[in-house]
């Protein structure tokens, strides 16, 4: 009787199976008699939950005392609605303990620490909510320091849903007999609220990119994905954000504040908030609503919908990005009682600027980037004076600022140097040249080198675009098709348009940038003359062309046509939609009747065409071009 290998039971046939049974019973007999083996089996089953509890208690004992007391006090602070203590615990103590004990491991699981919480005179509901919040921190740690596996991803989604469900749909207290959900009585620091929304979207984005890699999935994962099609779906993420916005009525609040500002005895912000809805009155919901608008902007950009991203920011954008006198006089946050965190500031400007860039509205993009880069530079200087406790947070902000700088460098090269209304900030330009000098040089010279430089910077600085839909995991045939797709076949049959979203957007951007690459040369020639014939101009440009190609003599008419068409492109590129529009001042009898200045349009998508070039030219088709 040969010993069957235990790990190939798949091809075991009956003889061998019998043999194994015989073996096992032999071992059992060696102990006592076969019956005891069965008994032991039954006992083990009964003991399993007890074993689990024992394991938990062992794990709990392994948790350092410092951590245990932290958790208990943290819970107590949340119960007491003690915002300052919660803030300190969240921003300082938690990261310190993470670095000290859990820099490479997970925090203790929620089930393990649950027994600690019963000492705090909390109701079961309150303990439950604390565990939900704790899980939020737990999963955030897993995503940032460790690699989440598929279980982590699914569970973190469920946890987020539970948290948002609690915030949005809690039944009202026993006193109120209506069925309407009521606002919950929780106070959390603004930083935490921002992190909740930010992390939610981040986990969504990471999940989408992980999900689209079909080939690297194990069979188990394939099965789980086939069942769990609702997990991290685009609709549910959007639903959460839209619900928070609607519940907190943040847009109505801002509109009401704007109206209030014009009045004589304006009511304070809190009173305005109260008058809109009970949810708006609570800072928790106001803050969450406001952050959800910013989150929605980010999700739309990730899905490639730039106009919708700018559209959702209609009310908030005017307040945040300025250009109007709304909230300008007083300290913005105290006036509107809306939080201004550095992280939100930088993140929002990055996404808004990126939208403008993809809309080819380079002056608007540059203005947005300059605002935030100045802000970041001030922050950097201040950092040396007052230490920022959250180093990882600062790093993240610094990274976003770096990417913003790269986007600024690209826009700088795409806006033909020009009119005073797009005058570029020297300070920021110098910073950009220090960091990206090589690429900027290549980009401004034009030609194919420029496109390579644009591609490098774009891939570095762009957001991590995602596909809205998952590969068809629930359709086994389709998945099999994808898995077995031979790369050679794919390359043959596929269209030249890349399907990966990042490359799709890159290609669109390069097409726009590429159309402008001959323009710097053209412009420099036009600058030299007040009046120039097309023949002369085309011969200048020919010079460049003959060097590049091997043609002996380019047809004169063709070359001239080419030159004229390029000039139309130059004219076209010198105009841009801009939200801030210069206004001509009028001089009346030596006094300024109305001052020159700028006028800002309302929403972010609005704007008028302005000229961005200081070079004005027109073609007079009797064989001459006049320029100035």
């Amino acid at each position: 009787m040969s010993r069957p290998t235990l790990w190939s039971t798949a091809d075991m046939d009956d003889d061998l199976a019998d043999a194994v049974d015989a073996e096992l019973s032999m071992y059992a007999q060696q102990g006592q008699n076969p019956a005891i083996y069965d008994q032991l089996g039954a006992q083990i089953e009964q003991l399993e939950p007890l074993l689990a509890i024992q394991q938990h208690m062992a794990a709990l004992a392994a948790v350092p005392d410092v951590v245990k007391s932290f958790i208990v006090s943290f819970h107590q602070a949340i119960l007491n609605r003690d915002l300052p203590s919660v803030t300190i615990f969240y921003t300082t103590t938690f990261p310190k303990l993470t670095d000290r004990f859990y820099s490479r491991a997970e925090w203790p699981e929620p089930e393990i620490i649950a027994p600690l919480l019963s000492s705090n005179n909390a109701t079961e509901d309150q303990v439950h909510i604390f565990l939900v919040l704790y899980r939020d921190l737990y999963y955030r740690h897993v995503y940032s320091r460790l690699q989440p596996n598929i279980d982590d991803r699914f569970h973190s989604y469920e946890n987020s849903c539970e948290l948002f469900n609690y915030l949005l749909n809690s039944p009202s207290s026993a006193n109120d007999e209506s069925d309407e959900p009521a606002p919950v009585d929780l106070v959390l620091p603004e930083q935490w609220l921002w992190d909740i929304i930010d992390e939610f979207i981040y986990q969504f984005q990471v999940f989408c990119s992980w999900r689209s890699k079909v080939k690297s999935k194990t069979d188990d994962e394939l099965m789980m994905l086939a069942d769990g099609t609702g997990v991290w779906s685009s609709y549910s993420v959007l639903n959460v954000l839209y619900s928070l916005i609607q519940k907190s009525k943040i847009n109505e609040y801002i509109v009401a504040l704007k109206e209030e500002q014009g009045k004589e005895n304006s009511r304070p912000a809190e009173e305005v908030a109260q008058s809109i809805s009970p949810y708006t009155a609570l800072p928790l919901y106001r803050t969450l609503g406001y952050f959800s608008v910013l989150g929605l902007l980010r999700v739309h950009v990730l899905l490639g919908d730039f106009t919708l991203g700018l559209k959702v920011m209609d009310q908030v954008g005017e307040f945040l990005l300025g250009g109007s006198s709304f909230g300008a006089k007083t300290n913005k946050s105290s006036f509107t009682a809306l939080p201004t965190l550095p992280a939100t500031h930088i993140s929002t400007h990055y996404y808004v600027g990126f939208c403008y860039m993809m809309l080819r509205r380079y002056p608007d993009a540059i203005r947005t980037f300059v605002t935030v880069l100045n802000f970041f530079q001030r922050m950097q200087r201040m950092r040396n004076y007052s230490g920022y406790e959250r180093k990882d947070q600062y790093d993240q902000i610094a990274k976003t600022a770096d990417r913003t700088l790269a986007l600024y460098a690209m826009c700088h090269s795409l806006v033909l140097p020009g009119s005073p209304f797009t005058r570029l900030d020297d300070n920021i330009t110098n910073t950009a040249k220090e960091r990206y000098g090589d690429q900027m040089g290549r980009m401004s010279r034009g030609g194919s080198d420029a496109l390579v430089a644009f591609e490098e910077l774009f891939l570095y600085a762009c957001p991590k675009f995602i596909n809205a839909n998952s590969p068809p995991y629930d359709d086994p045939e389709a998945i099999a098709l994808l898995l077995n797709a031979d790369p050679a076949d794919v390359a043959e049959g596929s269209s030249p348009i890349p399907t990966d979203p990042t490359h799709r957007h890159l290609r669109l951007f390069l097409a726009s940038a590429g159309a402008q690459s001959p323009l710097p040369t053209l412009r420099s020639f036009l600058h030299l003359y007040t009046s120039l014939t097309t023949e002369k101009l085309s011969s200048f440009l020919d010079l460049v062309k003959v060097n590049e190609s091997d043609k002996e003599a380019v047809e004169d008419a063709e070359a001239e046509e080419e030159a004229i068409q390029e000039m139309m492109v130059l004219k076209q590129s010198s105009k841009s939609l801009s939200r801030i529009v210069p206004v001509q001042g009028k001089v009346d009898k030596g006094n300024d009747a109305s001052s020159a200045g700028v006028r800002a349009q309302g929403s972010l998508l609005a704007g008028e065409m302005i000229s961005t070039s200081d070079l004005n030219f027109a073609i007079d088709d009797v064989r001459s071009i006049k320029s100035e």
């Binding site: 899905l303 399907t499 068409q565 004219k571 998508l605 200081d614 027109a618 073609i619 009797v622």
Partner: protein, 241 residues
């Protein structure tokens, strides 16, 4: 100018509510938006944001996908050059898993590079090349199946040309203009010029383009008037140190 792009005057209230509200995500509303697209096609109107809403619904619900609708949207967007409408539409066209839910083979992968090429020619103002490509045999299927249904497609392309020509030229030769507008005969060209309100010179060889903001040459003089109160802070600071 942007105001009419964001909210075209031809958009009805129903569509306005759909586009600006949360209902745009409801898959059952795709029919309304598609009907609106066909209305735009028949009556020479154009509403970019509503068409983008259709593409977004297709992005989230791949089973709603209708390649004819997508091609029509892209064709309409060609007429908006140099605005980035075409690019915005492409940004929303996600990868789709190969599915067998369509009755006929999907025409989009074949036509998409073609439309890309046409758009690129328009953006780079290569108008004669555009007309050559458009009239070529290769694009026969595009012309027969799609652009023939789109009322005024060629006119909308001509409007793109006029926009570019108007801002760059003060006078343009009739042959050149005819080449750009792809007009078959001098009479057609003349009637087109008359419709625009432009005038010809005495020999009928050069068209005068009316003066507008873009083709007038003036040096831009920037005068900044800084008032004293604005400088008080700076001066006070300097005086202190």
């Amino acid at each position: 100018m942007a105001a009419s792009w964001i909210t075209p005057p031809t958009r009805t209230e129903l569509i306005e509510n759909l586009v600006s509200g949360v209902d745009r995500y409801n898959p059952s509303n795709v029919g309304i938006l598609e009907d609106y697209l066909y209305h735009q096609i028949r009556s020479q109107e154009y509403d970019c944001l509503a068409n983008l809403a259709i593409l977004k619904l297709y992005q989230f619900n791949p089973d709603l996908y209708n390649p004819d609708v997508v091609i029509n949207i892209l064709i309409k967007a060609l007429g908006a050059s140099p605005l980035p409408d075409f690019n915005l539409c492409i940004s929303l066209l996600d990868e789709r898993p190969p599915n067998a839910s369509l009755d006929e083979p999907d025409p989009l992968p074949v036509l998409l590079p073609v439309l890309h090429g046409l758009h690129h020619l328009l953006y780079r103002c290569r108008f004669p090349a555009f007309w050559r490509a458009y009239r070529s045999d290769q694009l026969e299927s595009l012309r027969d199946n799609y652009t023939v249904e789109c009322a005024g497609f060629e006119d909308s392309i001509r409007e793109v040309v006029i926009r570019a020509v108007k801002s760059t030229f003060t006078r343009i030769g009739t042959d050149r203009l005819g080449l750009y507008l792809d007009s078959d005969s001098p009479e057609e060209l003349k009637s087109y010029i008359d419709k625009l309100g432009w005038t010809l010179n005495s020999e009928g060889t050069v068209v005068n383009i009316p003066a507008n903001l873009d083709n007038q040459i003036e040096a831009v003089v920037v005068q900044e008037s800084i008032k004293l109160p604005q400088l008080t802070k700076v001066i006070a600071q300097a005086a202190r140190s």
